[in-house]
Symmetry: C2
Subunit: 585 residues, 2 copies
């Protein structure tokens, strides 16, 4: 029981020296990768760079205690940073104490929400985000983030929460471009692109092992940071208008207290909920993918608690919303991390960096961080998915494109909400028009198949309808419409058999529809019969008066129902009354 | 095509003298019933009584042109009047010009929304309201409405939008009770209750025909109106603190223009949407019930247009939101109305009343109207449903009780929203945990059944899973979890067969899950096979790479799949390897 809420109690028991070595090794590599990333994502969130470091210390320790993934690396990530910027920007101006307070409060709210959802075991809510909606949202966020960073590459001041505003801002300020900034930003971007694709083969060509080259390539951003700092110092670029990171406070994270101002909480709870859900979905996908590779399992409900604890830790140590990141988790995994302790060691690494390295960052150009972000997020943009979805499912395509379009045009919050709403509406629309088929007996078998697709035997006075869906309130109205319409088209019908082999549930609304159908068919002297009703459904119907009032019978098999009812005719059926029913739906 | 949007073109062609006579007869009876009702519901909506008459003229004509029900009678109804009072009361004080303007604007917004939903054929949205939610909402509204009218019976001033406020208001003002008002209100209420239950047998006892007695009993409210007016005049109650209807403007409805003030529209659009949906659902249920009795059909999408036109007509003639009412439609039906023309004739009757009868209403006590409302709405309160739902389905019971509770405590708008939200959450929760079963072959047949419920034959290296649900984004995550867990528990498994006979659809998220399962099973050297995939689903899968990458085969029948794969074993299966698999889920 205790181990359910504290997974550390389980893996901690078998912790030994070999595992320690592997975890430490992975922690060093992830730390090197995480330092520039933390600074860059804090910049993207509109926060002082040091906040990114703070968000990469205690949250990692909290996740190590509560998380179930052995290899997930939590911390600031691109999409959540963008959402933080959007939410905090709505209540305060960047650079003010109120803005920082809003970011801390977002982390606290998000942490509390995640933890409550975890305790309620409500991880299923993440299902509301379908794959097409998530991938559309990530693609659009990637485009938004990359665009938002162009101003730092150009050295201009431009803003905007959505794509048209961002592009407009860039267009009107492009004349102010600072050439020295551009001379830092463009090479840094190109170098980082090359590191991503070309560094590994190049390092292997000079004799490095494949794995070593792979890991060394992850240090590319650190190389860019060092080289551009050297360029700033040697060329005296600080006086030439190149924006630098400047003084970063040295020391461990402060103790911070989130705001308890009700009006602020009222403004922030919706974005905090969206950040929680997006962060959770992203993190769980990464964790599941990595766990499967090593045949481990994660518990999504406990993951909610783990991420909740991380965010609460982030809030109380001056950070902002965090979640499990894809790139860093893969690095952690590849570098051989075996337990969440690797995350705790990474936290120690980042803490050392914020104690001793921050003075070195004074001369770091903001353009370098922007280049890091651009290169990282452009891999999020997925241009193949729309075509695949178009071929596979028009409804999924519509949800994907709507999410991309609304996210680009109206910003991240409305984008997520619209994606969920479009997905849900399309789902409900389909659920309200389920599939049903008129069926007949396949000759010389006991099988019943769709009259439209198979050569089957039917008789005019018995109508067999197979319902391919549970009867719920979403389709209760449809069921009444459909059955009565089919009967109205066939004046010879004296018996209707509903074949319920695919009906897993009948809710109260479905039951009311069945009662209405029974009543109306009864008025017309038509019998209503049910066949192949599943055990649990029959049990439940038995608790009502429906079966007593049923104007017909309950048959265990469709074959039995058809055989008996087709005999029940005033005159005997004409010999060889086989025919193919066609075009009957 | 034209006849689809103007059903009048269809029934109008065969209109003849016999139909005219029947329609006129019904119109006279409905008019007599509608006059006191219109006044009373306007009072409930917090509007001048004459607005109720205005809302019963042009809307009926509009419905006669656009509506598809032959017998539905539209006009002001209790629940929508309560919702109007709640929405208009939120933006202005009762009795002010702004309050009336808000009511008119609500009718216009609601009309436009209904018409747009009709043109988009979006009637399926009404499915979001399940039977338990609607019946809970109607019950709670009945309680709220009856409570709200008690102040008029007592002759005190009390307010409140929700039940605790109303009861508190009554408790604190009950000392101010006007005894003359009480002396009118209590007998009027008792008389109307008696009319409802006892008048028909009494009239039959004095020799009236059953149908005649039934119709005459509907005139009970008119008798109460006449008697209480006479009491007021003869006893001079106007000077004794009895609140009267007072001067009612004489004449036809004015031409009114809804507000185009954007800030007002922003405040009113949510309540207008709720009024539209509640009104539509109520109206369509009545229309469907009556149509079925005469084997006629209505078109829900065209009904949206019909009700939309009615509300737009109401807005432009100084009325407020209207919909099809249950009691008056039943009276219309019983009185023999054959076409929507009866509604148009009723409109003429009400127009004549507002031209000539309004001066007679000066001395009508408000308490009489309140009594009319109380007696009408108490029949809405349904105390049997909670028990039935509890026995049948705990989830439906929860939605029902949540709707009643929130409507009583927080008012009508939050009540509807909460009902829809609770219903949807419970649905999504169940949809995210669909039913699946490990199946085996029933000996000496080709049927496969749940290993937990039947004695079936299985082999250790083949796992057959029947999935009883379409694979959609709501359960995609579950599918991955479930399949991988079942495999993890059975180390001997070398082949997994997903039996897809109940899978009607696989959306893009479901496909991604299948791909992930295929990939992960492939890593473990386990084959993934699909059996009994439906035609349209196979066609769709064929448009992707999934079938090429499938680490196994597609079998037409589960029997074939099981027969072939159970042969594929390193050593031959031991003889008589029949066993009963038990407790395997």
């Amino acid at each position: 029981m205790l181990a359910r809420y504290f997974p550390i109690l389980e893996w901690g028991r078998t912790y030994n020296r070999g595992v320690l070595t592997n975890d430490l090794m992975a922690a060093v590599i992830v730390t090197i990768m995480l330092i520039p990333q933390s600074l860059a994502y804090a910049l993207l969130a509109g926060l002082p760079p040091v906040v990114g470091l703070y968000a990469s210390i205690l949250p990692l320790v909290a996740y190590a205690i509560f998380g179930t993934s052995r290899t997930l690396a939590v911390g600031p990530v691109a999409v959540v940073s963008l959402m933080t910027a959007s939410a905090a920007g709505a209540v305060a101006a960047q650079g003010t104490a109120e803005y920082l307070e809003a970011a801390i409060t977002l982390a606290a709210l998000s942490g509390i929400m995640l933890a409550i959802l975890g305790i309620l075991r409500a991880g299923f809510l993440a299902n509301l985000l379908s794959h097409p909606v998530i991938s559309g949202f990530i693609t659009a966020s990637g485009i938004l983030i990359a665009t938002s960073q162009l101003k730092h590459i150009l050295g201009v001041k431009a803003g905007g929460d959505n794509w048209p505003d961002m592009l407009g801002g860039l267009a009107s300020t492009i004349g102010d471009t600072n050439m020295w900034t551009l001379a830092i930003g463009v090479p840094a971007t190109l170098f980082l692109f090359w590191v991503r694709k070309g560094a590994k083969p190049a390092l292997q060509a000079v004799g490095m092992s494949a794995r070593g080259a792979d890991i060394a390539a992850k240090a590319g951003p650190v190389v860019a940071v060092v080289l551009t700092i050297l360029a700033v110092v040697s060329l005296g670029l600080a006086d030439k208008g190149v924006k630098l990171v400047g003084a970063v406070p040295q020391g461990l994270p402060p103790f911070a207290v989130p705001s308890t101002d009700l009006s602020l909480i009222q403004q922030l709870w919706v974005p905090a909920l969206l950040i929680s859900i997006i962060g959770f979905v992203e993190s769980v996908s990464v964790a599941q993918t990595l766990a499967a590779k090593r045949r481990q399992r994660i518990s999504p409900d406990q993951e909610l608690i783990g991420l909740g604890a991380s965010n609460i830790a982030s809030a109380f140590s001056g950070g902002y919303p965090v979640t499990g990141g894809f790139a860093r988790s893969v690095v952690n995994f590849d570098a051989g991390a075996e337990t969440p302790a690797a995350g705790a060691y990474t936290a120690v690494g980042i803490a050392l960096a914020s104690l001793f390295l921050t003075p070195l960052l004074f001369n770091l150009p903001v353009a370098t961080l922007a280049a890091t972000i651009i290169v990282a997020v452009l891999s999020l943009v997925d241009l193949k998915t729309p075509g695949q979805l178009w071929r596979y499912s028009k409804a999924d395509f519509a949800a994907h494109i709507a999410t991309i379009g609304i996210t680009l045009l109206a910003g991240v919050e409305l984008g997520v909400i619209a994606g969920v709403a479009v997905g849900l509406l399309l789902y409900l629309w389909r659920a309200s028009r389920p599939h049903a088929a008129i069926v007949g007996r396949v000759p010389e078998t006991e099988h019943f198949r769709n009259v439209e697709r198979h050569k089957v035997f039917t008789v005019p006075h018995v109508l067999s309808i197979r319902i391919d869906e549970s009867l719920t309130y979403l389709n209760a109205r449809w069921l009444e419409e459909y059955v009565l319409e089919q009967v109205a088209e066939r004046p010879a019908v004296r018996h209707v058999i509903l074949m319920c082999s695919a009906v897993n549930e009948i809710d109260a609304s479905g039951l009311e529809s069945l009662e209405a159908i029974n009543h109306r068919l009864g008025d017309a002297g038509i019998g209503l019969h049910l066949s192949e009703v599943k055990g649990p459904v029959t049990d439940r119907l038995g608790r009502t008066h429906f079966l007593d009032e049923l104007n017909g019978r309950l048959f265990l098999s469709q074959n039995r129902a058809f055989a008996e009812l087709s005999q029940d005719t005033g005159e005997p059926p004409p010999p060889n009354d086989h025919y193919l029913a066609r075009g009957m739906i």
